[in-house]
Symmetry: C2
């Protein structure tokens, strides 16, 4: 595969941070600490530029970019707007390949002169061989290259790409998905997009061998035709999830002062996504949940017939309502399945029709066996498109030594993390054996650590996990609507 024009941007061999304060405070410190958190400086040269210091936090500091002895590929600029032009000239002189302007105050200021200054800067840089990210953006998170724009971003790479006009929402893509086990190929915050912008990034995503799934937050669409073309190429080969900021009139007004975008009306953007075959979502939460669906076995769900196992009576009733509201059916289980379930489920207070209400199944180790049997019988019953399994849900598990294990808990003697692994292993094996995806809805809200462990363990096993039935149902609805709208386009999943 030939090299994409943006490849050098994602693979810089040395980085300079220009305009960091000599006390290493504020935004400059954030960028520096994000890079140190990735241990960038242990692999490649990391230079700081500030005329009033020779060393900041143990790293060499130079008075100007041109004073740096070695080559610099990527520059992160924190300098005020007025120095931007001089910095571009220095970058050209230094042979820099990409310049990331965190520096803001251009088009998004609403001043025509500043919009013009932004265009001129980008043109000057491009003419000199320097690609520009921004201005007004957070830049790059590339775990493979140890680049990051926030502390605590995972060091391991993955196959989900993020493209965002907003720095905060680039961060939300990472902070919403990383705790659920997702890892990233690249996340790019491109701000005003004076040079590198959405269309080229979708084009890159389409060809990037490390990217399997694309998520994006966009505000404006300066060149709809170019975007449609790139989006079409990308969405043809990879699930591409798009959240549009400025979808409503009020949001569009906010967007114009954010990234200087003239956000188009939502209906036009809808049409663009539909033509391209992209999956449009309305909120960050939907973006996160859709990314989980398309990067796990859940992507293979092809119809609306669901079987639901777990939870008590009241949970089952509301679950059935939520699934129905999102277009999913819960067809009754066949007689043979109900006969197989009957020995494991006491008649009283239970349903074995669908949902299978597991609220009052035995207690302790007997409950554990019964739940495994019931889940297995349901997940292997043919004629459904997806199995949804709810875990936990009782009151908080008391700490060891306290009285009162929860009788809804299957085998309270089993350590929670072992239970988590056992549950996920069962669901993963049932995905294989049953020939259809299994979704997990975890109800361990009282125990954040356990909830996180379930999410991550499930994701690693290819099982999509959600915090609630309504969210799982909405994610499946998004998937199925998207699949239907893609009729005629390449079958991706």
């Amino acid at each position: 595969m030939s090299e994409h024009p943006l490849d050098p941007v994602f693979h810089p061999r040395a980085v300079a941070l220009v305009g960091i304060s000599s006390s290493a405070s504020g935004r400059g410190a954030s960028f520096l600490h994000a890079l140190l958190d990735q241990q960038y400086e242990q692999r490649r040269p990391l230079y700081l530029v500030n005329p009033r210091a020779t060393e900041i936090e143990g790293l060499p500091c130079f008075p100007t970019l041109l004073a740096i002895p070695g080559p610099v590929d990527h520059v992160i600029s924190l300098i005020p707007r007025d120095g931007a032009r001089a910095l571009v000239e220095q970058c050209v002189a230094k042979g820099v390949r990409s310049l990331h302007f965190f520096t803001a105050g251009f088009t998004e200021s609403g001043e025509a002169a500043m919009a013009e200054a932004e265009r001129a800067l980008a043109a000057l840089a491009r003419a000199g061989g320097v690609r520009v990210l921004g201005p007004n953006c957070m830049g790059l998170y590339v775990p493979d290259e140890r680049l990051a724009f926030g502390i605590g971003m995972p060091r391991e790479p993955g196959d989900v790409m993020g493209i965002s006009q907003s720095g905060a929402n680039a961060q939300e893509i990472v902070s919403g998905l990383a705790p659920r086990g997702v890892r990233f190929s690249k996340v790019v915050s491109f701000g005003n997009g004076s040079d590198i912008a959405a269309a080229e990034l979708f084009d890159y995503a389409a060809s990037d061998p490390q990217t399997a799934v694309v998520t994006a937050y966009l505000e404006g669409v300066p060149d709809g035709r170019a975007l449609l073309g790139a989006l079409r190429r990308c969405a043809a080969v990879k699930p591409t999830i798009i959240l549009k900021g400025g979808y409503t009139a009020a949001g569009a007004r906010a967007a114009s002062s954010h990234t200087g975008s003239l956000a188009g009306p939502g209906a036009l953007f809808d049409a663009l996504c539909r033509q391209a075959g992209a999956l449009r979502v309305d909120t960050l939460e939907e973006l996160h949940d859709a990314a989980i669906v398309v990067s796990t076995a859940a992507r293979h769900v092809r119809g609306r017939r669901a079987v639901l196992v777990g939870g008590g009576g009241g949970f089952s009733v509301l679950a059935a309502d939520a699934l129905a509201r999102h277009g999913l059916d819960l067809p009754e289980l066949p007689d043979t399945t109900r006969a197989a379930l009957r020995p494991w489920v006491p008649i009283a207070g239970n349903s074995i029709r669908n949902p299978v209400d597991a609220g009052f199944i035995g207690a302790g180790a007997a409950r554990r066996e019964a739940l495994e049997q019931v889940t297995t019988i349901a997940a292997l019953t043919p004629g459904y498109d997806v199995t949804i399994v709810a875990t936990g849900g009782g009151p908080p598990r008391p700490a060891a030594g306290e009285r009162a294990p929860d009788p809804d808990d299957d085998d309270p003697a089993e350590p929670p993390l072992e239970r988590t692994r056992r549950q996920v292993a069962l669901l993963a094996s049932l995905q294989e054996r049953g020939g259809r995806p299994v979704l997990l809805v975890r109800r361990e809200r009282a125990d954040a650590d356990l909830a996180a462990a379930l999410d991550v363990t499930a994701y690693a096993a290819g099982v999509a996990a959600f915090a609630s039935i309504p969210r799982a149902a909405r994610a499946l609805e998004l998937l199925l609507d998207w699949r239907r709208a893609r009729a005629g386009l390449p079958e991706l999943l």
Copy 2:
């Protein structure tokens, strides 16, 4: 005020737990431990009944109910179904005032004979002066009387009542609201409702001086006319929030095997709520958020004109979209306000039109002051119905001693809990001074303890706090739609 017929049920002077296992395991142990967790036994007699033990966990155990020396007002039954009739007879003989059947297997089994047995039990008990809760329910949480059906339920009483046909959803009402600062007058899980059921409980709620807000989860409506009458009386005088399980056909089927209810079609239930002036919600999350709205100053919101402060650019754009989707407007701030804001907000990357984007306002202590000024100016600008303030949102705050405070953080030197108290005190004072409700949207998702502290502190100050803009927006939409639908009914809020 004369005594309500249900008063004695909520104020028992002694409790007996009948059918607890001698090893204090399973469901019986859960009920026992819930009572011990409330220290019930330190205030009133708590008796256990099991013929195979004389003492369980240090409490005296008797072979039968009749063998208990003192009077017993309330009995919690965990015995199997077959012994239910004999227990009712004993309760009558003992002069028991209320009998809570956790015992299940009656109408909800789907067997006609069991439905008939349930009716006969209830009739027998009523004839003998014993009121029945259930069968198939969790019974009572009355913090004033130290009664509870789950561990960890708050001991302090409050003014929100819960009425639930489902035990799990009664628990969800508590576990969803208690961490947000809400406290309860009474929560009743009434299961099959063979005697005490929804209509009588709404009637009680209407007259209960300790109850200011009513939340309810209902499945079936066996007697629509009686329910409508009671609901009308209740909703006329107190905000009454209702979640209907079995709203869809699939949910209705699940409900019939849960509490034996023939759930009516959703549209009929809608009409019933509208006629009665109740606030109908679709999910537990909406029930929780609506309860927060009507029990804080947020209940006074009377129109759709919102001003939003806080968050960075991408946050503001999506916030504006979410508010618009839920019918709220963000009218531009007047020129005088924008002039007042300008000194505090750098032009670059910001909007001072509405939303007021606070993403890039200064850093450290200067940021703290600027944020306070900006929030104050916005909240005191006349012409709006509600002020919405977003906090936090940056990456996780590093632990003390680690590098890199978040530059989005106002004054990282300030201890988080102090910051929380300061933020809430400001918002509470702005509610007073501005003459309109202030809503807080907290974005401290990375720090669960801090998020919980913000929720609880805000609630205590009468400030409604939400985990996201879409949830705050939806809660306001529910409130405003409810207010409009109540035209002609007494003005409650």
